[in-house]
């Protein structure tokens, strides 16, 4: 019963190879099976659209002075509508959030992507070559993983200095070992399959086998993990901003926005830290729900 395939030998439309577009649509259609995943997908998509079109969507520049301490839904001196109010320096919180989205989404994606490249390469090598390669790489990974992540970040950023590149470097340094472990486990399993032996017996090079024969078959769990990790990275970037180790001002940064205004929240200006905090939560929630949904759908098939 396990083989569910209709193969009657005739040429049908389904024999044509599917393009990337068709396959993408296919996966989205699959996601509708999981309401939770769909909610996550919608949230994440909204944030990505906002990030891409930030300059078009933001009503004001993030540095423009309008009206200090304006409450949400108030109107500025020149008739500017302040949907989410303004901060201490009179800047529109809504606009700053939108530009902040751009930063967060860009750096979270970049950092996760880089961490994946490093983690995948290390994991493939450790799982495929095994022996001393595995021992050295696994030892390195264990050493890094034994540090508390936040301490590691603070250590790296304070010693190199805060910048976008540093954040990426810090995230790669801290998450690559975790990714490596997952990839290594998957590799150890997949490397025993006959099609890997078939590739070996036709004399393929180890890296061809790892990247072309092996990696595509590990993609399922990795995509789910990548979604979760995007969420972690978002929190990390927020936390670093909050600690003053994020992107240098004046560029808006969600964590930084919360930090700047957190003392004012007690004085009744709740909206100043609230909306950035809400943005962080929603984006992380989106990634986590999407990951859950993907896992659910992939388990069902």
């Amino acid at each position: 019963m396990s083989q569910a395939n209709a193969t009657d030998g005739t040429v049908s439309a389904s024999d044509r190879p599917k393009g990337l577009f068709e396959r993408t649509i296919g996966s989205i259609v699959l996601l509708k099976e999981s309401p939770v995943g769909l909610v996550g997908a919608v949230l994440v998509t909204i944030f990505f659209i906002v990030a891409i079109f930030a300059p078009l969507l933001a009503p004001h520049h993030y540095e423009t002075f309008i009206m200090p301490m304006a409450a949400p839904l108030s109107t500025g001196p020149n008739g500017e509508f302040l949907l989410l109010g303004a901060d201490l320096r009179g800047r529109d919180i809504f606009s700053r959030l939108i530009y902040g989205t751009q930063r967060v989404v860009f750096y979270a994606s970049l950092a996760t992507f880089c961490a994946y490249i490093v983690g995948i390469l290390m994991g493939l090598a450790a799982g495929y070559f095994r022996g001393w390669v595995d021992e050295v790489l696994s030892f390195l990974a264990n050493v890094i993983l034994s540090f508390p992540v936040m301490v590691l970040f603070v250590l790296i950023i304070t010693s190199i200095g805060a910048s976008g590149a540093t954040i990426v470097f810090a995230v790669v340094f801290a998450s690559a070992p975790g990714i490596m472990r997952i990839v290594r486990g998957l590799t150890l399993d997949i490397a025993t399959r006959d099609y890997i032996a078939a590739a070996q017996t036709r004399g393929e090079s180890p890296w061809y086998i790892m990247l072309v024969e092996l990696l595509p078959n590990a993609r399922g769990p990795l995509i789910v993990d990548a979604c979760l990790r995007m969420g972690y990275t978002t929190i990390t970037i927020g936390a670093l901003g909050f600690l003053g180790l994020g992107l240098p001002p004046p560029f808006p940064d969600w964590g930084g926005m919360i930090n700047e205004t957190r003392t004012l929240a007690m004085g009744g200006f709740w909206w100043m830290p609230f909306f950035p905090a809400l943005a962080v939560s929603l984006l992380v929630l989106g990634f986590n729900l999407l990951a859950d949904g993907l896992r659910e759908v992939s388990l069902r098939d």
Partner: protein, 719 residues
């Protein structure tokens, strides 16, 4: 209707008493996203006390679903949609969950295919056995239960039951585990025992022991049994009656003797035509695969489900949507068939058109292996090993392997799991290098040459067909892409056009539509995947192909098609085929020369007719006796091996087979490596016993009546 049969054979009178189990018109469906999938339709079976009924069929035919339904255990998405199951006269669908729970494991017990997953790995075997009496017999003391469990272990012929009681499942062998599972099932003294492929995961000599035990159980305890298997030979050995299933429907039922000798359904006939019985011969009397494929449960044709694959299909009759009723062949024995045309088919004069071929004439020597050894080092890092200085031990996977293969020849390497046959294939392919000795292939010494250092020509000239159809192809790439890669890698064709031409050629070669090149492996059935695996191996015109159990994961009818295909290609390309297998029936059918291995050593080698006839090596003799043969006219001498396969880490010092050999002659077997005894014509037996002695041994397999086979025979007196 039954007058068309010549006088039916007198059968034993139908058993008396109330039926233990009466399944009536049972229909079972699974409910999935796509809707209702009927798994079993209109299934009827009556089981009397002390009777053993076999349910036989290929994968996906619904035989396990029936077993699950009897246990009333259908999982979340399955359900009985029609008919009834009565156990001891009571309708099981009307029982409460609590009643069913009491019934399961006490009155009805089940034995599964995988003993290791049926036992809890973290519990002592004794404690697991104890649960049965403690749960089903309130008031029994723990001591009594323990004694009962230990006695039961002795009854299933486990050596040293007291030790087994205090062992964890992983500490005993697979065969012993299955005996424990059987003991557990028998502890509650069940009225009905369900056996779902109980020996499929076991080696053939271990299987023989379990089968013997099952037969003894039915004699001693009088338990009624339902034996589910895909193996016709096992059904013949264990059952009184048989029910053949196809695509969720029982198509033929009757006594084993009658169904096996006078099968009336074209599917049953097709099934027997695909089994490599001793009478089959790859050249003169080739196997006849059933054409086409098993229909999917939601895609079954109208009328007879076998219609599209049947040679006797008649439009307007066989495709009547009303379906096919049971037709009685023989009232007295209960032989019935679901075929509208059974009286019209003249099986005596039915000869399927299978091409006959002259035997292959072997050419010059292609492969020569001389004294090849392969040892693996196992490092022991424990403290004890450090102190005793025995930090590294050697697994002797291959020990002095010597044989040769000639052009166009099929050489089979046969042996049970752990005999080193796959290690040998790895060394040959260059995935491992040998420890010692020579492998000369096409005049080049390759035993020390890993695949990474072989030339593309060397690699392309030695290719492999793998065992597992679900793993042989990369699920992420299209079928065509994977073949193209091989063609380019071996430099068979250079231009895009030529490459695609070669892909089409290869797909034609393995008789698959060319459009399959755009498909992903998951869109293919097991047999089709295996064909692609074959096409891939032959892409570089290799003079020699190693096939590592290429058909053992396939259903018999598909098996016949794939072996047939492999041999057609071999003829066309003049390929030398090295066929690695554990299945002696398939090996006998398709090989020219046989190499029998045990624990890394060659026990016997020679031409196929010589190895399968005396003088035998005692191991070959035991193997031959263990293989179940689905032919009632064949009589086997029973040889059941005692003991377990020794560990490869600690093999016997003398003859590797000495610990289990029924013909052991004395201390010499334990102490000294046996000599090679040449019986002429390349037939070599590695044994301490003189050839003359071995020649006196009676053949293991004897055909009772001349001209026998799976076909219809003249009636003969009952035993």
């Amino acid at each position: 209707m039954s007058d068309t049969l010549q006088q039916a054979e007198p059968v034993k009178s139908p058993p008396k008493g109330e039926p233990v189990l009466a399944i009536d018109n049972l229909s079972i469906s699974y409910f999935i996203r796509a809707g209702e999938v009927p798994a079993v339709k209109d299934f009827t079976l009556t089981l009397y006390p002390g009777e053993a009924v076999g349910i036989v069929g290929e994968s996906g035919c619904g035989k396990s679903t029936v077993a699950m339904a009897i246990m009333q255990y259908m999982g979340g998405n399955g359900g009985i949609v029609g008919g009834s199951i009565k156990f001891m006269g009571r309708d099981m669908s009307k029982m409460s969950q609590e009643e069913l729970r009491q019934l399961r494991g006490s009155d009805i017990a089940m034995i599964y295919q995988e003993p290791m997953s049926a036992l809890n790995p973290s519990m002592l075997i004794g404690r697991q056995l104890l649960e049965v009496p403690l749960f089903h017999e309130p008031g029994i003391s723990e001591d009594d239960a323990w004694t009962r469990a230990e006695e039961m272990l002795a009854k299933v012929k486990l050596p040293d039951p007291a030790r087994v009681m205090n062992a964890y499942p992983h500490q005993i062998s697979g065969g012993q585990q299955q005996r424990v599972v059987i003991a557990m099932a028998l502890l509650s003294n069940p009225t009905l025992l369900l056996l779902d492929e109980p020996t499929t995961a076991l080696d053939v000599t271990v299987e023989a022991g379990i089968v013997k035990l099952i037969k003894e159980i039915s004699a001693e305890f009088g338990t009624s049994m339902i034996y589910i298997s895909h193996n016709m030979g096992l059904i013949l050995e264990t059952c009184d009656r048989v029910c053949v299933m196809y695509s969720g429907v029982a198509v033929e039922t009757g006594t084993v003797k009658e169904v096996f000798d006078m099968m009336r359904h074209p599917y049953t006939r097709g099934l027997f035509g695909s089994i490599p019985l001793p009478t089959a011969d790859k050249n003169a009397n080739p196997l006849v695969p059933i054409r086409g494929q098993l229909p999917l449960p939601y895609n079954r044709p109208d009328g007879c489900y076998f219609g599209p694959r049947c040679d006797f299909f008649e439009e307007g009759r066989c495709d009547d949507p009303k379906g096919v009723p049971w037709l009685t062949v023989d009232e007295a024995s209960g032989h019935a068939v679901r075929c509208l045309r059974w009286t019209e088919i003249d099986w005596d004069n039915y000869t399927p058109d299978m091409e006959q071929h002259p035997p292959n004439e072997p050419g010059e020597e292609v492969l020569h292996v001389e004294n090849m050894r392969k040892y693996f080092e196992v490092r022991d890092t424990s403290l004890k090993a450090l102190f005793t200085g025995k930090a590294s031990r050697w697994v002797k996977a291959n020990e002095s392997i010597s044989f040769s293969a000639r052009k166009r020849e099929t050489v089979a390497i046969v042996g049970e799991s752990g005999c080193g046959k796959s290690t040998f294939a790895k060394v040959l392919m260059g995935l491992e290098t040998s420890t010692d000795g020579q492998i000369v292939y096409n005049g080049e010494e390759i035993s020390q040459l890993p695949v990474t250092r072989r030339t593309p020509r060397q690699i392309g000239s030695l290719q492999m067909v793998f065992q597992n159809p679900n793993e042989t192809l990369n699920p992420s790439h299209t079928v065509g892409g994977q073949i193209i890669r091989v063609i380019k890698k071996f430099g068979v064709a250079k231009s895009e056009e030529d490459v695609h031409k070669r892909v089409d050629e290869l797909l034609d070669l393995v008789k698959l539509p060319r459009a399959f090149k755009y498909r992903k492996p998951r869109q293919l059935s097991g047999g089709q995947k295996q064909r692609i695996g074959i096409a891939r191996a032959f892409a570089g015109y290799p003079p020699m192909v190693i096939a590592d159990e290429p058909v053992s994961a396939l259903d018999v009818s598909v098996q016949a098609a794939v072996t047939g295909l492999l041999m057609d290609i071999q003829r066309q390309y003049d390929t030398t085929l090295l066929f690695i297998s554990h299945d002696l029936s398939v090996v006998r059918y398709l090989s020219d020369r046989v190499v029998v291995m045990y624990l890394g050593m060659i026990m016997e080698q020679g031409d196929v007719e010589e190895v399968y006839a005396p003088p035998y090596h005692p191991y070959t003799e035991a193997l031959l006796s263990a293989v179940p043969i689905a032919d009632t006219s064949i009589e086997k001498r029973e040889i059941v091996l005692e003991g377990n396969l020794p560990s490869v880490l600690n093999p016997p010092k003398g003859c590797p087979f000495s610990t289990r050999c029924p013909r052991k002659i004395g201390a010499i077997c334990d102490e000294e490596r046996p000599p090679f005894r040449d019986a002429g014509n390349g037939h070599v037996i590695t044994c301490h016993i003189e050839l003359e002695e071995l020649s006196k041994v009676e053949p293991v397999i004897v055909t009772k009546s001349p001209g026998g086979g799976a076909g219809e025979k003249a009636p003969e007196p009952a035993e």
